[in-house]
Amino acid sequence: MKYIWLVVFIIMFRLGFAQNKTELPFIEHLINKGYYNEVIHLIDNDSLHYSHSKQDSLNYYKGWAHYSLKNLDQSTTSLLNVGKESPFYLKSRFFAGYNQIFLENYDDARKIIGVMNVQNEPIPTLVNFELSGIDMLQGNRSKAKEQLQQINPNIATINQQVAALGQIIKDQETHRAKSPLLAGVMSGIIPGSGKIYAGHTGEGIASMIATAGFGLITWENYRKLGIGHVKTIFFGSIFAASYASNIYGSVISVKIIENDYKDAQHNQILFQLHIPLRNIFE
């Protein structure tokens, strides 16, 4: 009888402390409240031993905390440690892939997303969608277009984004890139006109007035004092510098405009790739 009571006592005692044996509900609470640094600290300093499934959840939470803090490399490492049996597996895999897309490690992203062998919709469609996005980001427009056309049109959570990627491809195909060389030549003939061509009208007019002003000052000093006078040389140098820098500025303006266009397209693709992930997994 004495021993039975002892066993009962031990069982009850263990039950009493059971809530402290796992951190998972608390970690989930921290994630929901947006305390990501706290989550990472807790998981990194946790000395408890968890079962496989709980370890998977911990890896997922850590990866998600890093993802939310934009530590994408650490996020990928943790998310890839989530096992196949975990309910977080698919989400972890896709977000790890997305992290790599964001970091422009396209081959790694392709490996992470491409190896998922899941037949149930919408996962295969989502895989194709993400892969076509990677192709677009790598500049393989025709391959991306083909892949987008093969996407199952009955998946409502993705349809809008497929259309949006299609529109981006169309925009890219019809986009006429501005020539830095032409901008430079234009500014060489009429200072500031290269910037107007690049789309910076106000800046172009301001450069035109400034260069013309320095030109007039140089001309006045040249006419009254001659070419060898220090004032003519001084203002002439400023005029020459202004003229040359205006040509250089026009070339750079066109390059900046083209880079801005590419960045906008890049961000738009990333944005579209992200939407279905949030729609499907949250």
Partner: protein, 290 residues
């Protein structure tokens, strides 16, 4: 098995459960005492997560806010303190929460909000003995918002709340009167005035804002550019005089006006910080704050 043993086992079991929750609170407190504020904030959040009673929840939130205050994260401290509502204004926790809220507002550079919080406490609580806790913060906030007369009255009221000897009290009154004498108050520069000075005499706004050297340099630059412009025009170099001279003068002149406004703002901040530093030192060396 005798009843005493059964009772003994049940007692240990219940104690175990109770101790596990109080152990967590102790863990938070000991981490806080050891200066590990981030770790302590996590333990208090755990207590918030497990709390069942409203009073416990508020107490843990308050302690968590203290951790954030120590971490200089006043926004997060205020986030913890703001949503608490107390129906009983004489609750000691209400007093502590109001105090920390006003202090965090002040430290976060929001003295008007701190004053509003202190006034709310004074309005709601009848326990006038607790007001003295708030006076130093109120005093600093009134100084920061340039309410000198109110600040002086507040300081005198604070002295009256202390158990000073008559001699000490007289000495403190003298100190306060000296501190708040017009000639000892921070000479706050008007930003508008600084800009207008620079508008009429370039560089004078900087001198008014306390930067004499910079003002002189600015004046000389403007004068030189203007002189160059006039010299060119007189000698028949109209385009050079107009475009190079006046064009450059336009930049230095307007830049100087803007700069004098910035300098006046910076100077005002410095003066208030120094003045509040003096007040702080006076309070620390003469008053018992606990």
């Amino acid at each position: 098995m005798p009843n005493t043993i059964k009772f003994f086992f049940s007692f240990i079991f219940l104690c175990g459960i109770f101790l596990s929750s109080s152990a967590a609170v102790l863990k938070g407190d000991s981490l806080y005492a050891a200066g590990q504020y981030f770790e302590a904030s996590i333990e208090y959040e755990r207590m918030i997560f497990n709390a069942e009673a409203q009073a416990d929840l508020y107490s843990h939130k308050y302690k968590k806010a203290l951790c954030y205050k120590q971490l200089r994260n006043f926004d997060r401290a205020l986030e913890e303190l703001q949503p608490m509502y107390f129906s009983n204004a004489d609750d000691s926790l209400y007093r502590q929460v109001c105090y920390e809220q006003s202090l965090c507002f002040y430290l976060n550079g929001e003295p008007a909000k701190a004053l509003w919080k202190i006034d709310e406490y004074f309005h709601r609580s009848d326990d006038t003995a607790t007001y003295r806790l708030f006076i130093p913060v109120k005093l600093l906030c009134l100084n920061e918002t340039l309410q000198w007369n109110e600040a002086k009255e507040c300081f005198i009221g604070f002295i009256q709340m202390q158990n000073f000897t008559p001699e000490k009290r007289t000495e403190m009154y003298q100190i306060v009167n000296t501190l708040y004498e017009k000639r000892n108050l921070p000479h706050i520069r008007s930003i508008k005035k600084a800009e207008n000075w620079s508008r009429f005499i370039p560089g004078s706004g900087q001198i008014y804002a306390g930067k004499t050297g910079e003002g002189i340099v600015n004046f000389l630059i403007n004068a030189s550019v203007l002189a160059f412009s006039a010299h060119q025009a007189i000698n028949g170099f109209y385009i050079t005089g107009y475009l190079a001279g006046l064009g450059f003068f336009n930049k230095t002149y307007h830049g100087g006006i803007k700069r004098s406004g910035i300098l006046a703002t910076q100077r005002n901040k410095e003066l208030i910080v120094n003045f509040n530093g003096e007040i702080n030192a006076t309070i620390r060396s003469n008053f018992e704050l606990n």
